[in-house]
Symmetry: C2
């Protein structure tokens, strides 16, 4: 018999079907056994009686033939799409036995500590509430590509092993590349810029590898970046494009995920007109409105990001804020200094619900200026040979930005830790399993490790 | 004045416009200067006279204001979409000067040796014929995602740093991960399998890192894989799904790229019914039709792939062939042996125009069988802890496949070398620049390096 997806049983009342899926829960009522069975389309109640029922446990993979029946009026479950029906099992075949679960997976919430959630990642991802996170993530990816294409961006595949560190600095992962020293790219930045003279407008989805010795709720050692870069644009246009991409992406994901967001108890995103502030203006507002004086700081602290987003929501009805003009010295070398005041750069962050989800800038597009700034930062232009080549042979004014996929996912769903928004998060304590289990050098986090309260 | 895209000049005849782009070629006819200028939308002829023309060279980035004129009937160029018009320049501003080019970029073909093509990759990618390769590639990516979504696959983002080598073997890149030894994944294989119990059907686009000491026209050290994996399928269904994904992807890309394929002189893809042969049947055909006896070989040699594709085109009108049942010992550990003859596995390759573009298989989905096969191959199940967890807690019958993006691109366009189908190819001799230029250990390819004639 051909398989019927669980959701399709709704149109097969009175018919014989075969459903395939996982035992989600079982309730044994003496001679009657109730199973909740899930497949990719949904969940259904299966009723089994009689002696030929195999012993069943949660996560067993089963193939069940039986008849689809209407439930009695008083037994209808309005919370699920198949709540008016059930399958009366005639035959249950176990396709794959599951070992006994280390914790209960049958509740509405999966109430586990983060280490356990990750130690059993292959299992915990199956919980409906965990699974849903990654459906939202898939919608963000789709929304981002959709708006990028509408803006004429060509998709590019960039390498993630490079001969030199993307942005300088020591926090890079080293790779042994046929006996040569190479690096995992800290971002797709340099490559997307190199493609501006080819396609003018490009987008890419790529990993960013950052060997930062820090353990916080907001950082991953490997994140997924959604990047765009545009030629023939000036600063204000880059800001327009960035806000458009961000808002359209989140609107798309929100529309695709209405039920999930409801399930997570998340309020609709506030899409009021996004305020644009310089860093200094932001700090003034925080001083006035929240009484904290950070007016001499060179960047926003996490609490500043929370506060200014709260202000934005209250005064502009926007869950977003664009912050511009960070100190040139604090940004990556390729950010363009503002000619009106080169202490500050034509850079920006985009905040969403209290956290930065985007960085971007108008870039330096002059070859010699770029060589000079690389030298001034103590780096060797020779290590940027292929990158500089793109500027040597004619680079228009250009700019772009980079969204962090996991942070977007995290804040769309109000998750407490960015690790929950990565299928298999990488941090300094874990590569799937805990590194401490491997008994290697850096298992006890030594000095220099930044830990969050 | 607002910028007009070059292609949009067609609807602005008689109007003043500002166009921005790159000088592609210049022809100096005494007092009249003809420029071909390109932007992301196309190419247009610009006519400039008088004394105020700045000195211009190919790849200079310019902003030109002027009037759009109809060309005289006898000067119309029917080969380009803007062939009936030209811009009569009133002002030309140079936005970015290009250094003198190391070779001519103005011809219809970019006739360079591969090393030069790659040494100047940031420049050579700008040539129309090179650029077009990556427009086809972007269409392949889009087509693959479209059909995968239609088949109910959820997009997943998989990690590319893992604690153990994906498929065993020594040909892996090592990463220093906070003082621990980690590896670049040889494929997204293990992770996509782990997601089958979560979403049943998944797809992902990911890098595959293979530190193979070989230099051939068909291999990259880092390739891009288009992967699908399906739960609750048996072997024949996996074959059906694989052929459907492959054919729909290539059809989509072909439809999106008609002009480009014409430009490359490529015949339409032959979509006759795809023959399915076992390895042994394939070898029989090759013996009978081509007189080469490879009937005892455990895999197809490159010439076998060419021959059987020629046979398929001739006898089935198909540019594709599906080859099944490779020897179990020659395939990855997770391939399922055929219960009827466990010497052979429920594995397959999909050939396109003379080369393998897909590998796949029905997988072992039994936990204990998987543990046993890992041990039998001399590997340690402990290194596969998170992977095995997915099987321990209930894994349905499942299978999937992996397309090589660069090979698909290569053979859609009839390119001679797979490196031409990668924006920034990685091989054992190059990471953007030649490794030999860095004066490090493995620059002179030592013993053990497989080189193709």
């Amino acid at each position: 018999m051909e398989r019927t997806l669980i959701l399709d049983c709704n149109v097969k009342v009175g018919e014989e079907v075969k459903i395939c899926g996982w035992v989600y829960t079982r309730r044994d009522h003496g001679k009657i056994l109730f199973l909740d069975v899930t497949d990719r389309s949904g969940l259904i109640q299966v009723v089994a009686t009689g002696g030929k029922i195999p012993e069943l446990h949660p996560q067993d993979v089963v193939s069940i033939t039986g008849k689809v029946n209407k439930r009695q009026e008083n037994l209808v479950n309005k919370n699920i799409p198949t709540g008016e029906i059930e399958v009366y099992a005639e035959n249950i075949e176990v396709l794959s036995k599951a070992a006994e679960l280390p914790f209960d997976m049958g509740g509405k919430e999966l109430d586990l500590q983060l280490p356990t959630l990750l130690d059993f990642r292959s299992l915990t991802l199956r919980h409906p509430k965990v699974k849903e996170i990654f459906k939202v993530q898939a919608a963000i990816l789709e929304g981002f590509r959709k708006i990028s294409k509408e803006l004429d961006c060509v998709e590019i595949v960039v390498p993630e092993i490079a001969a030199s560190a993307t942005e300088g600095g020591a926090e890079v992962f080293h790779v042994d590349y046929y006996g040569h020293s190479a690096f995992m790219t800290q971002s797709p930045q340099l490559y997307k810029q190199m493609l501006v003279p080819v396609f003018e407008r490009v987008f890419t989805i790529a990993h960013a590898y950052r060997a930062e010795p820090s353990v916080t709720t907001r950082h991953l050692s490997v994140s997924t970046q959604l990047d765009c870069e545009f030629g023939f644009v000036e600063f204000e246009e880059v800001l327009d494009l960035m806000e458009q991409v961000g808002i359209e992406t989140i609107k798309f994901a929100e529309n695709q995920s209405k039920d999930i967001l409801k399930d997570f108890g998340i309020k609709p995103v506030a899409f009021g007109k996004v305020p644009r502030l310089t860093l200094r203006e932001t700090q003034e507002i925080i001083f006035k409105e929240f009484g904290r004086d950070a007016r001499l700081e060179k960047d926003l602290a996490p609490q500043d990001e929370v506060d200014i987003c709260q202000w934005s929501l209250k005064t502009h009805g926007s869950d977003f804020v664009t912050i511009t003009h960070f100190p040139t010295a604090k940004r990556a070398f390729y950010s363009k200094p503002d000619t009106k005041d080169p202490e500050y750069s034509l850079s920006f962050d985009f905040l969403f619900r209290g956290v930065e989800i985007v960085s971007g800038a108008q870039r330096i597009n002059d070859y010699q200026q770029l060589v000079d700034v690389i030298k001034a930062r103590g780096m060797d232009p020779e290590n940027f040979e292929m990158y500089l080549q793109a500027f040597k042979y004619g680079m228009p004014p250009e700019g772009g930005f980079s969204f962090g996929l996991e942070r977007m996912t995290m804040h769309m769903l109000g998750l407490a830790n960015v690790r929950e928004a990565s299928l298999f998060p990488r941090d300094m304590e874990r590569v799937d399993i805990r590194l401490s289990a491997k008994g290697n050098p850096s298992t006890t986090l030594g000095t220099g490790v930044k830990r969050e309260k």
